[in-house]
């Protein structure tokens, strides 16, 4: 407990306090609710040399904020310490270990190469120096000798510049290092764990390596060899594979060195274990909501024969709003009084919003669907009879917790934590009963069918609404989340002290 400055150093990547979003809101909530702990924030931004304005008012227990850019810019020609041939060779050996599936050799490597920021070769030495060049060349010659060397080399540079910069970054002193993703942030947390011998905590909301892999698959800036060489070492998408492999290995390194690995629902925990996390270190701490504002909402009853369907969320492709609109069209055939509201901002992807509007027009249901834009969602929960989620990817969506707290029955695609949220995770949880119906992805018929069955059965709605409230009260309260993290932090501080 003698660490000066901070109890907890949060290591964050592209999020709080500079970017708004679900994870940022979660961090803001957590830090604000633990005023007795002092937090330092080490934030990793994409680009070097940019200044960012915090988008949140930092709680008073945030004692320091450091922002480090990892891509872009050049390195000043500063020479660091020279290393023995054996130390350079240890870098080669480390790559061989990683290839063989071992992720625990980072401590030894750091000790020999860069035990503290400012020691060992400088970032400039790493990027421009001949010993690094020899290693890259050897990696290329042994692993991918038939691929474009220019692209191999620059892929190496782009992927490793962040690593070298982060090795030399000054991370605040703290009793516990808490990273809220794997990737670069996870790597920094691992280096702190190894250099300072302080406990390390990982919370992963979405599975980082998978999210990156999806981005990389769609990236157009990564070179794809047009004439694929007919070799085993490299397919045309080799450079995409290199990037994906980098993030996969950063995740494995993070899992290997974290003392506790937390995620927000069971499915993610299983994914982490598949990616190399030790099951004994993993646990699930779901997100939570403050029940009272939602529980106290007055319900407005529908007009006779009316059935009100709600969609709450940003109008973006990942939410698959079009499937929702098609489902509403089908529902109107069976339930004449059905009306729908799409509540959420459309400014993030105006083109998609326009497509959704024109789809509604094409289907002839513009009079049945209201696009509200950005609204206070509490107003929505009090005047809908079912909340529908058609997302193709989710973590643990807050809208489900909020709607459930308001006693609204649910229809959701089977993504992320949604099935757990609707049907229960553990036996006791399951015993509370289902709080909604789970459907397949991108299946308007299935979504419509679920909505219709709720529309035709007021008793089922009543029952599911009740189960929803009970489940949120039992497992998804904000107070529980705070309590769990307070316990985890205390345990780790005690273990590290």
């Amino acid at each position: 407990m003698s660490a000066p400055g901070a109890d907890i150093c949060l290591i964050l990547e592209g999020t709080y306090p500079f970017v708004t979003g679900g994870v940022s809101a979660w961090i803001h909530q957590l830090v604000g609710a633990l005023p007795e702990l002092r937090f330092a924030i080490f934030h990793i931004s994409a680009t070097q040399g940019e200044t960012h304005e915090p988008r949140y008012r930092l709680p008073p227990n945030v004692v320091s904020l450091v922002d480090v850019g990892i891509h872009g810019g050049d390195e000043p020609a500063v020479s660091g310490e020279s290393l023995s041939a054996d130390a350079w060779d240890s870098m080669w050996r480390y790559h061989e270990e990683l290839k063989a599936g071992r992720s625990d050799g980072l401590g030894e490597l750091l000790h020999g190469v860069c035990p503290r920021p400012g020691t060992g070769p400088s970032v400039h030495d790493f990027i421009y120096g001949k010993p690094s060049w020899q290693i890259v060349r050897r990696l290329y010659e042994e692993r991918a000798p038939d691929i474009s060397f220019l692209d191999y080399f620059w892929t190496w540079r782009f992927t490793h510049l962040p690593i070298f910069r982060l090795l030399h970054a000054a991370v605040p002193e703290a009793s516990v290092y808490h990273t809220v993703s794997t990737g670069w942030a996870g790597f920094v947390a691992a280096t702190q764990r190894l250099r300072r011998h302080r406990p390390m905590l990982l919370t992963e909301h979405g599975i980082y390596s998978r999210e990156r892999r999806m981005e990389i698959d769609q990236a157009e800036w990564i070179y794809v060899q047009r004439q694929a060489p007919m070799t085993l070492s490299a397919g045309p998408a080799y450079f995409k594979e290199l990037w994906a492999r980098l993030f996969d290995r950063l995740s494995r390194i993070t899992y290997a060195h974290a003392d506790r690995i937390v995620t927000i629902f069971e499915g993610n925990r299983q994914a982490q274990i598949r990616d190399g996390a030790d099951p004994a270190k993993t646990l699930v701490v779901p997100n939570g909501v403050d029940l009272e504002p939602f529980a106290a909402l007055p319900r407005t009853e529908p007009a006779p024969g009316e059935f009100r369907i709600g969609f709450v969320g940003r109008v973006v492709p990942i939410k698959d709003v079009k499937t929702f609109i098609r489902a509403v069209k089908i529902v109107t055939g069976d339930v004449p009084g059905a009306r729908a509201v799409i509540a959420g901002p459309g400014d993030e992807d105006p083109e998609y919003l326009a497509e959704c509007r024109s789809l509604a027009a094409t289907l002839g249901i513009t009079d049945r669907i209201e696009f509200t834009g950005r609204v206070d969602v509490k107003q929505i929960y009090s005047r809908i009879d079912v909340l529908v989620l058609t997302s193709i990817s989710e973590g643990l969506p807050l809208v489900i917790l909020e709607a459930a707290a308001a006693g609204v029955p649910l229809v959701s695609t089977d993504v992320g934590a949604c099935r757990e949220l609707l049907e229960g995770r553990e036996p006791a949880d399951r015993a509370l009963g289902a709080s909604g119906l789970v459907t397949g992805l991108a299946d308007p018929g299935a979504t419509a069918q679920a909505i219709v069955s709720l529309a035709r059965d007021p008793g089922l709605r009543e029952e599911m609404g009740r189960a929803a409230r009970a489940r949120v009260r039992a497992h998804y309260q904000e107070a529980d989340l705070i309590r769990r993290y307070r316990e985890i932090y205390r345990g780790l501080i005690a273990a590290g002290g």
Partner: protein, 470 residues
């Protein structure tokens, strides 16, 4: 240099055997032409006019011309390489308009600076008649400006008219000097020479301006930025031009100097050394042609493979071809030049007797012939270094040449007549060794330099820069 290289290649590929010879001729003229032509003119004048204006007047005339060329080469040396690089960069970017501005700026600054320098010098130098002072200042301005205009002729790519201008100009110099010398005396002699050189400058300027007519001038011109970006090129230019003058200067100001008039000196060293320079004209031509054509093809192949997604094995193959081509060029150069130098050394006594030099100058001539051969090899190495953007190495070579030539020439002057002339070949040998040591290292590390030494920031991507210098 890009433009010249393409043009020469076209001459060789498209033309017949006579085209090939023409390419060599242009090559020689472009690399060292103006200087050598002027030496020829001076030599011819010396042979034809000994009895025309009297020995003293002729010595004054010759000293003024030699000083003018020597000084102007050093003073323009600082700008020469940087402006050459600037020109290549802008041509590579297709910004010909920027050259219009930088061309006029370069010319204006050069003229003004040499006007000031010349006026100060000739105002203070004692013992000259007013007309000689006036023409002396004008000659300095004209010759300095000619060096700078030569750079921009790369944009015009019209070598026939350039060569014609030089021959016509020097013929005019010759005739006007003889004519005016006969009727007006020493100052008329200089005025005639000046008229021919000014004619060359005028034709060259007109040729460049014609190239620039109708070109839209962009808002930004990066000439000054080029000076800031390439300090090594400034150093290389100054040191190189100082290196090739310093031995003559030492012979002028030392005990070996023969006072001509005022601050002007001559020495027994001058004439043999000028003859030596003439002996390497064939090398300069071969060198220029092989660098700008054979070598340039391999060079482009190498960078093409490196930048167009080749495998490392392909890059290394291209490098081997490049190195082999360099060796080949060097061998070809030696095959022609070495026998020529040996022949010149053998014929030296006869030559000395024919133009009335003394026995002491025979030793200087023989040393100088070896020196000039090594000098050309050194130049070859330096220019290849510049092709690989090793600006610092090129500056080092020039600095070594300068320091060695100064120190060794001082040493030989101190030792006495038996050692006269040894400084230059020894200095050239040292510079040559340095250049090939650096070149060896560069080629050894070429793939490392090609990839790993490139800056991270994209705007400074030196793969682009090295193509630009090509």
């Amino acid at each position: 240099m890009a433009g010249i290289g393409f043009r020469l290649k076209r001459l060789i590929v498209d033309g017949s055997y006579s085209g090939w010879l023409r390419a060599h001729l242009y090559g020689a003229v472009l690399s060292a032409g103006p200087w050598l032509l002027s030496i020829c003119t001076l030599g011819t004048l010396a042979l034809l006019s000994r009895n025309l204006i009297g020995d003293a007047a002729h010595a004054r005339f010759q000293a003024i011309v030699v000083y003018t060329y020597t000084v102007s080469l050093i003073t323009t040396g600082a700008a020469h390489m940087v402006v050459t690089r600037h020109l290549a960069d802008e041509l590579y970017r297709g910004r010909i308009g920027a050259l219009v501005v930088s061309y006029r700026l370069t010319l204006g600054v050069t003229a003004l600076a040499h006007l000031v320098l010349g006026t100060a010098f000739y105002a203070l130098c004692p013992g000259l008649e007013p007309a000689l002072r006036l023409f002396g200042v004008m000659l300095l301005v004209v010759v300095s400006c000619t060096w700078m205009v030569m750079i921009y002729l790369g944009a015009a790519q019209d070598y026939a008219s350039v060569v014609a201008a030089f021959f016509a100009g020097n013929a005019l110099s010759l005739l006007a000097a003889l004519g005016l010398g006969r009727y007006v005396g020493g100052s008329g002699y200089l005025a005639g020479f000046l008229a021919g050189q000014a004619g060359i400058l005028f034709v060259l300027c007109a040729r460049v301006e014609r190239e620039f007519t109708g070109v839209r001038v962009p808002e930004s011109v990066h000439l000054l930025r080029a000076f800031g970006r390439y300090p090594e090129l400034i150093a290389a230019g100054v040191f190189y031009n100082a290196a090739i003058a310093v031995d003559r200067v030492i012979f002028w100001v030392g005990p070996t100097g023969l006072p001509v008039v005022g601050w002007f000196h001559a020495s027994l060293y001058d004439t043999p050394i000028f003859l030596c320079y003439l002996s390497v004209v064939p090398s300069l031509a071969i060198f220029l042609v092989s660098v700008e054509t054979d070598f340039y093809d391999r060079y482009r192949e190498y960078y093409g493979v490196a930048t167009k997604h080749g495998t490392l094995r392909q890059v290394l193959d291209a490098k081997r071809a490049l190195v082999a081509c360099l060796r080949n060029s060097l061998r070809r150069l030696l095959i022609v030049q070495a026998p020529l130098t040996l022949l010149s050394m053998a014929l030296a006594p006869w030559l000395i007797a024919a133009i009335g030099l003394d026995r002491l100058q025979l030793g200087i001539l023989r040393c100088g012939l070896v020196g000039a051969l090594l000098h050309v090899l050194c130049l070859f190495g330096s220019i290849v270094l510049l092709y690989f953007d090793r600006r610092r190495d090129a500056a080092e070579v020039a600095a070594v040449f300068f320091v060695a030539n100064a120190a060794l020439t001082l040493g030989t002057v101190a030792v006495g007549p038996r050692a006269y002339g040894l400084g230059y070949p020894l200095a050239a040998l040292l510079a040559c060794a340095w250049a090939y040591h650096r070149l060896e290292q560069t080629l050894e590390d070429l793939e490392y330099l090609t990839f790993a030494a490139q800056p991270m920031a994209p705007e400074a991507s030196a793969i682009e820069a090295s193509s630009a210098s090509a």
